[in-house]
């Protein structure tokens, strides 16, 4: 039982509000900065209220690009990032659920070994295996392609583990009832496991979409053409200037744009997620 005392509540809310302010403030600054012109942002006395260049800044960021000729407009980067994040999220769900299905429901030689090998890859994130992975992708001629961006990040064990744990909670009787009902391995997977896994898939999708969206090192390595850049690497490049002022207002607009898709995914999927949690029962 939680006791309700007025002072406790007030203190708790105060701390929470402080925390939220602390987190939101930089985002707010970015948002404000993206509405002023370059001069206002760099002069050191940036106002805390929105300026009048919102439309101009966002239009330039998305469709035109910065003042330097080499800079790509953000619109394209957004599409690249979206394709990459979606590819990673969906690809990972697909191979994870299939491999977990194999590991949990099929008896084949070296099943446990296979599982442990998958498990061990948890200890080898992209950063650790970056050189060999780069070599493989380069040899497969996948540099500067969506395949090159997506494939190496799909292969990891988290999803397989998640689905394995979930499948193990499904009672064996359900499989047996399916067998008696004449459903083979494919039908059992399609008619029973998939519908029951919707929540798990939603959870994995959220995690993997954000993971893919936030990738920095890997896209930086394998993309050389500006047309294949993702937005996260793009922001960084906007700020590396040699002999001129960084266009902070555009960088901030880009940062705000980069934040929107993951936020949208979380908000949208959260509803599905909760609904799924309430509705499924094993």
């Amino acid at each position: 039982m939680v006791e309700h005392r007025r002072w406790n509540d007030i203190v708790a809310y105060l701390i929470l509000t402080l925390g939220v302010l602390l987190v939101v403030f930089p985002v707010y600054v970015a948002l404000i900065a993206s509405t002023h012109d370059a001069a206002t942002v760099v002069n050191g006395n940036m106002p805390m209220t929105p300026g009048s260049h919102t439309w101009d800044n966002y239009y330039r960021a998305i469709f035109v690009g910065g003042s330097r000729a080499s800079r790509e407009p953000v619109g394209h980067m957004l599409i690249n990032s979206f394709v990459m994040a979606m590819g990673i999220a969906l690809g990972k769900i697909l191979i994870s659920i299939l491999s977990a299905y194999a590991v949990v429901y099929f008896r084949f030689p070296f099943r446990q070994t296979a599982f442990w090998i998958i498990f061990i890859t948890l200890m080898l994130p992209v950063e650790v295996r970056i050189y060999p992975t780069y070599k493989v992708i380069a040899d497969l001629k996948m540099l500067d392609s969506y395949a090159g961006l997506i494939l190496p990040l799909i292969a990891s064990a988290t999803g397989t583990l998640l689905f394995r744990q979930f499948f193990m909670t499904i009672p064996d009787e359900l499989l047996e009832a399916s067998r008696i009902d004449g459903a083979g391995p494919y039908r059992f997977f399609k008619d029973t496991l998939l519908p029951l896994s919707v929540t798990t898939m939603a959870a994995l999708f959220v995690i993997q979409f954000i993971y893919g969206w936030n990738q920095y090192l890997w896209p930086l390595l394998i993309t050389t053409q500006d047309s294949m850049q993702t937005i996260v690497t793009g922001i960084k490049k906007m700020l590396t200037t040699t002999d001129e002022l960084a266009e902070w207002q555009l960088a901030m607009a880009t940062a705000i744009l980069a934040m929107l898709p993951p936020v949208a995914v979380v908000i949208f999927m959260q509803r599905l997620f909760v609904r799924g949690l309430v509705e499924t029962e094993k």
Binding site: E176, A177, I180, D191
Partner: protein
């Protein structure tokens, strides 16, 4: 409609554990067979072997004249009701019942007819669009039954289908299952550890223990003539009183039979002063009284050795005894009572308890 025959069926698990040690019997067409035994006796394993969910190590499982050892569960023409119902949680009641038929490629109209008919029978007609989680335990149980009925299989298999229900519902469903089976005349195998369910449902009762069949027969035969002490104490509630006899103290008439263990059911004991001719008299000190309404169970411990010597048929070892007396009148706790039973009501077993001695 089909008979089910098991021929020297054995099951050895990869670890070397022998779950079924050679079982053979036949269930004639349309009969209701109940497998009963304590946990781990192999009754569920045997049922699952008939279903095809467990492989058969050796021996033959024969359904309707066809050996099905190598046949997939779906092709054995059986339907199974599971203990936890195993309903598909994401499907409606209708789809739960229709799923197996669809997988067989049955025509939509035929599926619809069968499902609605089964729903009518099981009083589920208004719930066809619900999901299992919106149903009560009893209703889920009916859906599980419905899923079996719509298949119109040769054999129904029940794996402790009532053990997740509360006591009252269990009795009601038990009666319904029996009625349904009588009407459909489908050969059925029913696994339970509840001897009351076993007694009331079975045409043929199979008592199992440790992977072997202890006794097969009609429930009343088994009740009145248990072949082993295991069956004697397992069938019947409260269990039969079993008393080890000492060789040197047997009464002449009992000793002649070579019996080592004497059994007497609680309901065959009456409180009286003198033993009927050739019967037994037991002096007991009352420990506990259980009143269940129509009858009362008196738990007593055997009185001391001196008293025991004087009773027929000889000295009995210490042990708790149960006496059933009708009504609510019962002796006080701590009272000394004498319970007697006539010779005809005594069950005699060999010293190892493995065989019955007819006298």
């Amino acid at each position: 409609m089909a008979s089910v025959t098991l021929r020297d069926v054995r099951k050895t698990y990869p670890g070397g554990f022998e779950a079924i040690k050679g079982i053979g019997f036949e269930i004639p067409d349309g009969q209701f067979c109940v497998l009963v035994g304590p946990s781990g006796c192999g009754k569920s394993t045997l049922l699952r072997m008939v279903a095809g969910l467990e492989t058969v190590t050796s021996g033959e499982v024969d359904i309707g004249g066809r050996v099905v050892n190598q046949v997939e569960p779906a092709d054995r023409d059986i339907a199974m009701v599971f203990q936890n119902y195993a309903l598909y949680p994401h499907m409606t009641v209708y789809n739960n019942m229709a799923y197996g038929l669809r997988n067989r490629g049955m025509a939509k109209d035929e599926i619809d007819t069968r499902v609605r008919e089964a729903a009518q029978t099981l009083e589920l007609a208004t719930m066809l669009d619900r999901k299992p989680r919106q149903l009560s335990g009893g209703q889920r149980q009916r859906v599980a039954m419905g899923r079996a009925i719509v298949r119109q299989p040769k054999v129904f298999l029940f794996d402790e289908p009532l053990s997740n229900l509360d006591a009252k519902l269990r009795v009601a469903m038990r009666v319904e299952i029996r009625k349904l089976q009588r009407r459909l005349k489908t050969t059925s195998i029913y696994v339970t550890h509840d001897q009351l369910e076993a007694m009331t449902l079975a045409d043929i009762l199979v008592v199992m223990n440790g992977g072997v069949v202890e006794q097969i027969g009609s429930p009343l035969d088994i009740y009145s003539k248990p072949k082993t002490t295991f069956v004697a104490s397992f069938i019947g509630a409260p269990p039969m009183n079993l008393i080890k006899l000492r060789d040197d103290a047997l009464s002449a008439s009992v000793r002649a039979t070579g019996a080592g263990i004497l059994g007497v059911r609680p309901e065959d004991l009456v409180l009286a002063d003198a033993a009927p001719d050739g019967g037994i008299a037991l002096d007991l000190t009352v420990d506990t009284i259980e009143r269940v309404g129509a009858e009362t169970y008196v738990y007593g411990s055997r009185a001391g050795r001196e008293a025991a010597v004087s009773t027929t048929p000889g000295e009995l070892p210490e042990g708790e005894m149960i006496v059933r007396i009708p009504g609510l009148e019962a002796p006080a706790i701590g009272a000394h009572i004498r319970a007697v039973a006539p010779r005809a009501k005594l069950h005699l077993f060999s010293a190892d308890g493995r065989s019955r001695i007819e006298s």
